[in-house]
């Protein structure tokens, strides 16, 4: 046992002391936080030059509404802050009314297109005469927005509101109805997303809490991503490690001092230690952040305990597979091809998490989360979605993973024992089968 610990310690220090480890431990939050930060920082980095938009209004009563709304927007909405800090953060929309004296809208459209191409205009709008009472064919739009920037839809999104307000207004007046009364009659009712109620100590029914959709999705996804990363960082270096020991002929010295099983156990133990260190850093960070911001009670202690259990088992399971691959192949190139199926199994839960989060109680989700290689990620996701799942399921999951891990370690041990001393070409599938069966 002492030798196992000596190997585990070396393995642990060899991993933790590398630059790669420190980079990984920093890179993960940087990557997650960075994408959010980038969006925040880049939000203001838009082109705030005026966008000139021509309007050919054949109906005769809509361009005024657009021009008025644009003026109002240009005066207020494009700015943020007050006083000294007042800054323009969005482009102003400058509306230019166009006439069609010749009665040939196609010609006007062509002329406007030319102006857009010459950058004199940003876009133009053609409102047909029947815009107020279009045909019953809903697909046939009677208002056309023409631009050379199909991905920029800010104006399009914005103009819909003043246009439709004016159209509704005119229609209601034609029918002799007061738009104010109608709009209050048509006001939509809000539907709140609430949790369940129960009885408190005084026997009164509690108030239902507003559910937090962000927390409901974000926490499980974040935990799953962390699990994936921890498995990758904890288990995959074992492949390179074993390959190094094999190619550098270190294995023979080691096996002169201990059994292959002791060597393998030590390496696995070291890797579990590495993965626990990573999780320790993140969890401590999360706890500190929540505690500082006054949400200390929100720290999901029971989830973290489950996380650590699943994580340790997953590192053992995948780690033993990675070690077996390292022992069976002869170089990194060969390892890559054998690695692909294992990586697929590891990544597979990423393809189904969305459905699992939406309906964590569905049979489909229960079954998937009980497939051992997927359990560490999917069971955790299901547990993290409020209100959680029956206790027997994670229990059964852990037992199944434990059994699978035992089988994997056994098989990997057999492959490892023979493969680690083998030089020259890698093992064929038939050789592997023989090693596993005959030992």
């Amino acid at each position: 046992m002492r030798k196992v610990i000596v190997v585990a310690m070396r393995e642990y220090l060899a991993s933790v002391r590398t630059k790669a480890f420190i980079i990984t431990i920093i890179a993960m939050p940087v990557m997650m936080g960075g994408s959010i930060l980038a969006q925040v920082l880049l939000r203001d980095k838009v082109d705030i030059g005026d966008k000139r938009i021509a309007v050919l209004d054949q109906s005769g009563f809509l361009h005024g509404a657009i021009a008025d709304a644009a003026e109002q927007r240009n005066a207020t909405e494009v700015y943020r802050g007050a006083g000294e800090d007042r800054r323009q953060i969005q482009p102003r929309f400058v509306i230019e009314a166009v006439d069609d004296p010749a009665g040939d809208p196609a010609r006007v459209s062509l002329a406007l297109s030319e102006r857009v191409r010459k950058k004199e205009l940003f876009a133009y709008l053609i409102i047909e005469a029947d815009a107020l009472h279009p045909m019953n064919d809903a697909a046939q739009s009677t208002i056309g927005y023409h631009s050379d920037s199909p991905t920029y839809d800010d104006f399009l999104e914005w103009v819909r509101i003043p246009l439709n307000e004016r159209i509704h207004d005119v229609r209601l007046r034609e029918l002799g109805l007061d738009p104010v009364i109608v709009s209050s009659a048509m006001k939509r009712a809000a539907v709140r997303n609430l949790g369940l109620v129960s009885l408190d100590e005084q026997g009164r029914v509690t108030e239902a809490q507003e559910t937090n959709r962000v927390a409901g999705v974000l926490v499980p996804v974040a935990l799953m991503m962390l699990m994936f990363m921890v498995i990758m960082v904890g288990a995959s270096p074992l492949l390179q490690g074993v390959l190094e020991e094999k190619m550098q002929r270190i294995a023979e010295v080691l096996l002169g001092s201990m059994t292959p099983f002791e060597l393998m156990s030590g390496k696995l133990l070291g890797s579990v230690g590495v993965s626990l260190s990573i999780v320790g850093v993140y969890m401590a960070g999360a706890f500190y952040a929540l505690h500082r911001s006054g949400y200390g009670s929100l720290f999901p202690v029971d989830l973290v305990v489950w996380f650590v259990i699943y994580q340790s088992l997953a590192v053992l399971l995948y780690g033993s597979l990675f070690m077996a691959i390292g022992a069976a192949v002869s170089d990194m190139k060969e390892a890559q091809s054998v690695l692909t199926p294992v990586m697929f199994i590891l990544v597979a839960p990423m393809f189904v998490w969305f459905n699992v989060i939406r309906e964590p109680g569905a049979t489909f989700a229960v079954v998937l989360s009980l497939i051992p290689p997927a359990t560490p990620m999917l069971m955790l996701v299901r547990q993290a979605v409020p209100p959680g799942i029956p206790l027997w399921q994670p229990m059964a999951g852990v037992i199944l993973v434990l059994l699978t891990t035992a089988v994997c370690v056994f098989i990997a041990g057999r492959v490892f024992r023979v493969g680690i001393l083998m030089q020259g070409q890698g093992a064929k599938l038939r050789d592997l089968a023989r090693w596993i069966i005959h030992g």
Binding site: E244, A251, G256
Partner: protein
């Protein structure tokens, strides 16, 4: 009591018999040399002593330091494998501490520093292994094998690839280990080293023991059948001389093997007729000569093949290693 005792041990890899009913005993405090052509089973035998390989089942057994299992005696054994290997990214002192801890030493630092000083590696103690030259790495590997003060040291080709200075240093270290009471087993291709250093010599050929004993006892079985001469002038066709069975020309020196019971004075006079004789010595056959006589022509050609295929990374040894 013998330090290592093999009785009737056989090891096969698939259909290939690597070691065939091998028996020998290593007396305590001796330097025991393994010789034999490439692929003869030397490394396999050493690995079986180290319990890296397990012999085929049957009546054979291996006893090391009186124990039948790896665990019991392992910490008293130091091992330098033929293929050297160190973690490249580790510092010299750290890797030595790691190997010493694997052999059960809790505070190996003083021993490590003493050995580093002795092998003139002190200034490299905090350097990474990847910065070492090949010879230095080999010395570090040797220290790794002996730093835990083993009772039994097993060295597979310890001298290969070392320059004369380092080779001498290593030889002194090996002799001092024996002086401290350890038993040393090493394999070598260098017959001169085996002749000069070993108390006992074991030769394995095709997995079988062909020689076992002290150098004297081995040479005695062949008698004084060798004449070493340095002949100035024509030293071609010396084989034509009566009673000369074989001629080995070393360039400056010629070695003649004469028929058993031949008259060496007659050979001397025949030589004197051919030219000026600068050196004449009646000798026992060298270990080299004995080796070549046993291994024979077919094995020498296989030897060369072995050298070629080692370069391409697929020696017969690597095939052996493939299946345990």
């Amino acid at each position: 009591m013998s330090v290592v005792e093999l009785a009737n041990v056989t090891k096969t890899f698939g259909k290939h018999v690597a070691v065939d009913r091998l028996s020998f005993a290593v007396p305590p405090g001796s330097i025991y040399g393994f010789i034999g052509p490439n692929g003869s089973g030397k490394t396999t035998t050493l690995r079986m002593i180290m319990r890296i390989y397990h012999p085929d089942g049957g009546e054979g057994h291996i006893r090391v330091l009186g124990e039948e299992t790896l665990q019991a005696a392992n910490e008293k054994i130091g091992y330098l494998p033929e293929e050297r290997g160190l973690y490249k990214k580790m510092k010299v002192r750290d890797i030595l501490a790691f190997f010493a801890q694997l052999k059960g030493r809790r505070s190996p630092r003083p021993a490590i520093d003493a050995w580093l000083a002795r092998m003139e590696l002190s200034s490299w103690a905090d350097k990474k292994v990847e910065a070492l030259s090949k010879g230095m790495a080999q010395k570090v590997q040797f220290i790794a094998a002996v730093v835990a003060d083993p009772q039994l040291v097993i060295l597979d080709e310890p001298f290969s690839g070392l320059d004369p200075v380092n080779s001498d240093r290593l030889r002194e270290a090996v002799l001092s280990l024996r002086g401290a009471g350890a038993t040393v087993i090493f394999s070598t291709h260098d017959m001169a080293v085996a002749e000069r250093m070993c108390d006992f010599i074991l030769m394995i050929h095709k997995g079988r023991k062909v020689l076992d004993g002290t150098l004297e006892s081995i040479q005695a079985t062949y008698g004084q059948d060798t004449i070493r001469v340095r002949l100035e002038g024509n030293h071609r066709d010396l084989g034509a001389i009566r009673d000369v069975e074989k001629v080995t020309d070393f360039g400056q020196l010629q070695e003649l093997r004469v028929r058993h019971g031949a008259d060496t004075q007659a050979v001397l006079s025949a030589l004197m007729h051919r030219g000026r004789l600068a050196h004449f010595e009646l000798a026992r056959p060298s270990l080299h000569d004995i080796f070549v006589r046993i291994a024979g022509a077919d094995d020498l050609s296989r030897d060369r093949e072995g050298a070629v295929s080692t370069a391409s990374g697929d020696s017969s040894d690597s095939r052996e290693r493939g299946r345990a």
